[in-house]
Amino acid sequence: MTDTPTLTFAFMDPPFETGRTATFFRLLDICARRGYHIKVFAYEGAVALPFSQQKPHANAVHGRDASEENHPLPKDWIAALTEEAERNGGSLNWVNCGLCVDERGVNAAIDGVSRGSPADFWKLAAASTNSLVIPTR
């Protein structure tokens, strides 16, 4: 038995659209640094967050090439947070809603991301210390 909290999040926003995405990842970052066990159920547009084919780009307006721009990619955030959680004795378990993936064609996900269903969200939440849903508005 452990006293380490397990927290389940449901998130709906797609990448590069709202400020909620970065805020959500900030919450995950706090959890990862504390070594919590983090469960994420990505619903609807959020299933594109771990899409492995995201590509950084240069930005002529900024006057920087792709390397200098270091464009943020949510798939890299997920990978970094997974490492951070594990480094601190925790974990990050990311479940993509499978039907949401199919309708968007974003099947290619980074390693560690699993395909699931609303049943997984229910089970994860039931087994967690607490849960938080962050919907699209």
């Binding site: 609807e44 609303p118 229910w122």
Partner: protein, 126 residues
């Protein structure tokens, strides 16, 4: 575990998804034994108005043959044993009379809403 699904964002992608995604999520979780209650608040109280018809969408030669049917989705939820409520004050603010509501949908005062929250193990506000 008892979970309260509070639905506030209304008509979010309902045409594309052919349903409300949170009502759909509730259906799917009920299928694995979830103990759920649904409370419609804000603009989502309009989901409980019977007789809505979202058909007829056409783009060029493309026709949507299966439009969303929120009334049926709510009725089906209730048939599965999920109680559906609307927050009464939100209904009143929008001028929606109670005789326009889908049969079986309950009215929730703010006091009742607080009780419902207190009785639930998880509160999911969408």
């Amino acid at each position: 575990m008892k979970a309260l699904q509070i639905v506030e964002a209304a008509y979010r992608g309902t045409i594309e998804e052919q349903d409300d995604t949170i009502l759909w999520l509730s259906h799917a979780m009920k299928g694995v034994g979830a103990d759920l209650t649904v409370a419609l608040r804000g603009n989502a109280v309009n989901y409980a108005v019977k007789g809505q018809a979202a058909g007829g969408l056409t783009f060029g030669n493309w026709h949507q043959t299966q439009p969303p049917d929120i009334e049926q989705d709510l009725t089906s939820l209730m048939e599965k044993g999920i109680q559906v409520y609307v927050v009464e004050v939100d209904l009143r603010h929008r001028g929606i009379p109670t005789d326009k509501l889908v049969t079986g949908v309950g009215l929730l005062s703010f006091d009742d809403f607080v009780d419902l929250i207190e009785d639930s193990d998880r509160i999911w506000h969408w």
